[in-house]
């Protein structure tokens, strides 16, 4: 069953002709040439394809197009518009969190969702939040250090804000 499916992608309205049971990750990568979300298992077990769906962390490979009609999807490239992502990206960059980088966009999306949810996540919170993201290169500790650095950077930025009058 193929039909026109409309959804928001990084703030822009997209209409695609797609089968209802097609996965969002395939539509993004195969039809819309949006390749920042990666596909590494296709069954929700690695987190390389993480996106935000109406703000909630979701594996794009578990989303079939019937679930996408009318929702707002944010892919890794769309994080430019999300304030928390800047700290996440900066923290991960400073700590050289990634190596091959194929899992990096997915981790970035997950950590952005975490920072939106929690003011000051600690290492246990970070580990719990990243339970669905696999990385093969790093052994994860650089990612934990990067995430903690992101938390620190945001705390510093918040502290630097002028007191409300």
């Amino acid at each position: 069953m193929t039909g026109e499916i409309g959804f928001g992608l990084n703030g822009a309205r997209r209409n695609v002709s797609a089968g209802a049971s097609q996965r969002l990750i395939d539509v993004l990568r195969e039809e819309l040439d949006a390749t920042s979300a990666k596909k590494a298992c296709g069954i929700g077990r690695c987190g390389a394809c993480m996106v935000l769906m109406n703000g909630a962390l979701t594996n794009a490979c578990l989303l079939m197009m019937w679930q996408v009609e009318g929702v707002e999807i944010v892919t890794p490239e769309g994080l430019d518009a999300v304030a928390e992502a800047a700290f996440v990206r900066q923290g991960l960059t400073e700590e050289n969190a990634f190596q091959c980088g194929y899992c990096a966009p997915g981790f970035t999306v997950t950590l952005t969702a975490l920072l939106r949810e929690m003011a000051k996540p600690d290492e246990a919170d970070i580990r719990a939040a990243l339970g669905g993201n696999l990385c093969r290169c790093t052994g994860y500790h650089s990612i934990i250090r990067g995430a903690l650095r992101a938390v620190e950077l945001r705390a510093a930025a918040v502290a630097a804000l002028p007191e409300p009058a």
Binding site: M1, A20, S21, D26, E30, T35, S36, A37, K38, A40, C41, G42, I43, G44, R45, C46, G47, A48, M53, L57, T58, N59, L62, L63, M64, W66, P76, L79, R89, L92, T93, E94, N96, F98, Q99, C100, G101, Y102, P105, T108, T110, R127, A128, A129, L130, G131, G132, N133, L134, C135, R136, C137, T138, G139, Y140, H141, S142, I143, I144, R145
Partner: protein, 1046 residues
């Protein structure tokens, strides 16, 4: 598939077409079902349009949870957390955070294998279910007992209010710490009054274990006094009552015992009896090594650089070779054998070719050159013609206008096979009368080595330890599966762009297959999303090349994960029988090794892996009497080849366990035992070859001896559930391919027209930080800034031959290119600038950004690189190149290495008395590999290798049955998650080189994995007195070693 969205339950039920209907809530389970081969139903009925299926209602009698309530909503629900901690524990153990955002409680139950079910069973949950014309509330236990009805929708879960349990437990026993399939889930609640159990509920389930209440055990327990429960008898009753299948990963025996342990322990009973192992000679930590540095952003200070590709990768803006898209690009797909061993009778592609949208189909008939590839032996067909030898063998490939059409076309190719007996193990392969995988027989390679007199050696031994160690079929697990794109240029050049580890060798292999001159083939082999040896051999390049040539169009292709698992190489499973003897003073006097390795269907680099393993038969120790024998057998078990460590880690596992066992036999501290046996620096290598100076075994042992890990608590944990031990392993890793294969190196430095200094090396950025290393090293040698340098790598058209990005060899190549070419380029730059500035070259010096006056205090630029480039003719830009052979030793009877890096790994582990599982608490790694080219890259390589080695030791194995993979994707092939990563990791580097050392920094890509397995195994032995002889460590055997019942 037809998707419908009714707005009422009645409407939904009316839309059902029986078994061909799927009622979908979050839709997460269906994906796994499809991946595991379930045929998609004709009709999918969405439940999310139906009012009343959501929400949580709290009433005086209990809580009603709407079926569409997501697991994440349950997890965050304050009242649930407060009143139903057992349910909350089950929710948190289910899937991962992102899946819990989609998955619902109704879906978890309706699939009949969710991890919530045991929890809900012991909570006496009832289901509100709807059938046509009927709405009723039924106990979950009854609903599960009744046959599955296709036309039944779960509307809500009702959890009745009940007295607070005096004890409760929920535990999921999985395969790793997070996002794991269940091995078995258990749940129990005890209600007591005046110290007597008045009611109890016990349930099991999860994954392949059918969810069930254990009524008989419940009845037995009811009425017992809480303080007088006979836990041993309860344990026996539980083991008896729990039913479950074998699934090739964990046996029923393990499921029963682990579940019984978890229930008994969770309800406050005793764990199985445990007798601590006999005390061993204690190791007393000594002084630390003064010159070692710990690596990290803070500690590394100015030597910590942000890697140049970091920001783009993190933002998702780096275009991998599998991300390239353009308008008229075709999509390729490969037909795999799907069966492990068969003769091909006929291949019919006509129906695929006739399908609209298919542009080309290729088979062996399209191969104009030699239909065989392989780095060592060319025994693997690019496209099979006479027979298939493993499940992932390539038989045909198609190029079509889109992925869906390509997939349909693959289904239309008819291959008639005549099945052959499956050779499903190395032992069986070498048995008389075994079916031959290759015409020449199944013994791919046999190696023997002897030194001294083995009989006399054992005759003089006071202690002999003999054991057989088995190692897994580890998958590389690179996140980017094999893939890329290909096209033919206007000038007829074939461009093949796919992740690899040696572009020029890929080019040579493709030229052989295609019957084309190498000059007409360009290979782009990086950036790539991880390799670890798994992209060293050709993967998708032949299919891409054939499709691009036949269609004349751009074609892209990327393997799905299941296809990557089936087709890709793995590490060689090894069975290593080792007999080691030492004298009464703890000197090893004899070492006998018998190695049997599974090659899978084709040789690839497996002969080299076995040879390297055998080269490490005595590890870093001097042993006078040695006898080794290795056999490598062809089987139909997938196909094997290079993986980080290249055989060293397998042999180190066996050897370092033997060493510790002998130390125990001698009553010696394991450090002292090693000290008595370490090879002496400056002596000849294992094979009698010359070895480079800067040997650091003594230092690594001293560093290990001083490590603070020895001071951390060991033995039984305060809560009594785990036993902690500390262990170590030593290793060394050769750099370079060795004396026998060609091993070219080289590179070019040049001023580019835009003013960047290009450092062109035919190496690949596979994640290891090649570009950072190039920038640091060239900048340091040339005197320019890091940002002035543009690495140009992984492209045969743009970079010269540098050899392969394998065997820990890239570091040396980068260093030598910088060292030799940078002074030449500096001369060229200063001469060129001198001409333009009309002054003497001697007065100029290269500085960040350009050239300045030598000795000037201001350092002000006299001319920038960009200005210099603009002022020069494009064909007259300064450049300097070098080409060399990677340094080789002087032994040619076998493959010997010259340059080595050294390490010691310490692990502190906890052995779980309930599940038999091992988790790594702390890892500390000491390395000596000369100067550190890039701190972050070095740290990353060691940490990453450490956890990859942990996976090899604890969770990873690509399991085959009769030549078919049981572990088809990342749901069952268990790589460590972040929750499995050690609590602490520390990486140290000892940088110094001997004054006469000409070889500079050593490569560290493999060093970090080499001693992880023995360190963990020895730590397990330290904890429980039992040496695991099988990796991954089997928790069932650990439980056996711990003793059976309470």
């Amino acid at each position: 598939m037809e998707v419908l969205r009714p707005s009422t339950i009645e409407e939904a039920l009316a839309l059902s077409v029986g078994d061909d209907t799927y009622f979908a809530a979050g839709g997460t389970l269906i994906q796994l079902d499809w991946a595991q081969g379930l045929r998609p139903t004709r009709r999918l009925v969405r439940l999310d349009g139906i009012a009343g299926l959501g929400g949580i209602d709290i009433g005086p009698d209990g809580i009603r949870i709407g079926a569409l309530t997501t697991l994440a909503a349950l997890e965050r629900h304050a009242f649930v957390a407060e009143t139903l901690p057992l349910l909350l524990a089950a929710v948190k153990a289910t899937a991962g955070p992102s899946i819990r955002n989609l998955g619902t409680i109704g879906g978890n139950i309706a699939g009949r294998r969710g991890c919530l079910i045991p929890a809900l069973l012991v909570l006496d949950a009832r289901l509100d279910v709807a059938r046509t014309g009927v709405r009723q509330r039924v106990p979950l236990v009854d609903w599960l007992a009744a046959p599955r009805e296709p036309d039944c929708i779960v509307e809500a879960v009702f959890v009745p209010a009940s007295p607070a349990p005096v004890r409760w437990t929920y535990r999921k026993v999985g395969l790793r710490a997070a996002l794991t399939p269940a091995v078995v889930d258990v749940a129990a609640r005890l209600i007591a009054s005046e110290g007597r159990i008045t009611a109890c509920r016990i349930a099991v389930g999860g994954g392949p274990v059918a969810p069930a209440r254990l009524h008989e055990v419940e009845a037995w327990l009811a009425g017992e006094r809480l303080d007088a429960v006979d836990w041993r008898q309860l344990h026996e009753a539980l083991v008896e009552a729990i039913k479950g299948p074998e699934d090739g990963i964990r046996g029923i025996g393990y499921r029963r015992v682990a579940a019984a342990n978890a229930l008994v322990h969770g309800l406050g009973g005793r764990l199985p009896a445990w007798n601590p192992p006999a005390p061993r000679a204690a190791h007393v930590p000594r002084n630390s090594l003064p010159d070692e540095i710990r690596l990290g952003r803070a500690a590394s200070g100015e030597r910590w650089h942000v890697r140049p590709d970091g920001p783009a990768k993190i933002a998702g803006r780096l275009t991998y070779l599998t991300d390239v898209r353009d308008e008229d690009m075709l999509v390729g797909r490969i037909l795999r054998a799907g069966i492990p061993h068969a003769r091909i009778v006929h291949i019919d592609t006509s129906r695929a070719e006739a399908l609209a949208g298919v542009v080309a189909v290729v088979t062996h008939r399209d191969i104009k050159g030699s239909n065989g590839f392989g780095i060592v032996v060319q025994d693997q067909p690019a496209m099979c013609f006479d027979k298939v030898r493993y499940v992932g063998d390539a038989v045909a490939a198609v190029a079509a206008v889109d992925a869906a059409t390509a997939a349909r076309a693959i289904d239309l190719i008819r291959v008639r096979y005549e099945p052959l007996p499956v050779v499903s193990g190395a032992e069986a392969a070498l048995a008389p009368g075994a079916e031959a995988v290759h015409a020449a027989g199944n013994l791919q390679r046999e190696l023997r080595f002897a030194r001294g007199d083995i009989m006399a050696g054992f005759a003089g031994a006071a202690h002999v330890v003999e054991a057989t160690y088995e190692t897994p079929r580890q998958m590389h697990g690179f996140m980017e599966t094999e893939g890329g794109h290909a096209f033919v240029d206007a000038d007829g050049t074939l461009n093949v762009c796919a992740g690899g580890q040696h572009g020029r060798r890929d080019q040579m292999q493709l030229a052989r297959i295609l019957g084309m001159p190498e000059e007409r083939i360009r290979v782009v082999s990086s950036p790539t999303g991880g390799a670890f040896g798994g992209k060293d051999e050709l993967t998708v390049q032949p299919a891409l090349a054939l499709l691009a040539l036949k269609t004349g169009r751009r074609v892209r292709l990327q393997l799905e994960r299941f296809e990557s698992v089936a087709a890709g190489t793995k590490s060689n499973p090894m069975r290593i029988r080792m007999r080691t003897g030492c004298d009464a003073n703890g000197h090893i006097v004899a070492q006998q090794v018998d190695l049997l390795a599974d090659a899978g269907a084709y040789a690839s680099l497996s002969p080299g892996v076995m040879e390297t393993a055998l080269e490490h038969a005595c590890g870093p120790y001097d042993v006078p009497n040695v006898l080794s024998h290795g056999r490598l057998a062809y089987t139909n078990n997938g196909t094997c080849g290079a993986l980080r460590g290249f055989g060293c880690n397998q042999m180190s596992y066996a050897l370092e366990c033997q060493v510790e066992r002998l130390a125990v036999a001698c009553g010696l501290d394991p450090i002292e035992f090693r000290a008595r046996n370490l090879r002496k620096a400056g002596t000849r290598g294992y094979l009698g070859q010359t070895v480079a100076s800067t040997e650091r075994l003594d230092e690594m042992l001293a560093a290990a001896a001083a490590d603070p890990i020895w001071n951390r608590p060991r033995g039984l944990t305060p809560d009594g559930t785990e036993i902690i031990g500390v262990g170590m392993g030593m290793n060394y890793q050769g750099n370079g391919l060795g004396t026998l294969p060609p091993d070219p190196g080289g590179g070019t430095l040049r001023l580019a027209p835009d003013g960047m200094i290009e450092a062109a090396l035919g190496l690949d950025e596979i994640g290891q930080g090649l570009h950072a290393a190039i920038r640091n090293t060239v900048a340091a040698e040339l005197g320019c800034g890091h940002g002035d340098i543009r690495p140009v790598t992984g492209d045969t058209a743009a970079a010269p031959e540098s050899g392969s990005t394998t065997a820990s060899r890239g570091t040396y190549v980068v260093w030598r290119v910088a060292k030799e070419a940078a002074p030449c380029l500096a001369d060229e730059l200063t001469s060129a600038a001198a001409r333009i500035l009309d002054r003497s070259a001697q007065t100029l010096v290269v500085v960040p950004g350009g050239l300045a006056e030598r000795g000037s205090n201001s350092g002000a630029l006299l001319i920038s690189f960009a200005e210099l480039a603009r002022a020069l003719a494009p064909d007259g830009l300064p450049h300097a190149g070098v080409a060399f052979e990677f340094p080789k030793s002087d032994y040619f009877e076998g493959n010997a290495r010259l340059i080595f890096a050294f390490g010691a790994t310490l692990a502190r582990v906890a052995v779980d008395r309930v599940t038999g599982q091992v988790r790594v608490l702390d890892i500390s790694q000491h390395t000596a590999a000369g100067p550190v080219l890039d701190h972050a890259a070095y740290l990353g390589q060691i940490e990453g290798a450490s956890v990859q080695g942990q996976g090899f030791t604890i969770t990873e194995n690509a399991v085959l049955q009769h030549g078919l993979y049981l572990t088809e994707n990342l749901d069952t092939y268990i790589m460590p998650s972040i929750q499995d990563a050690p609590r602490s990791m520390a990486v140290f580097a000892l940088e110094g080189l001997e004054a006469d050392d000409r070889f500079g920094p050593r490569g560290i890509g493999e060093l970090g994995i080499g001693a992880v397995t023995p360190a963990i195994a020895n730590a397990v032995a330290d904890a429980i007195g039992y040496w695991p002889e099988q990796a991954p460590i089997d928790p069932e055997r650990i439980l056996g070693a711990l003793g059976g019942s309470p």
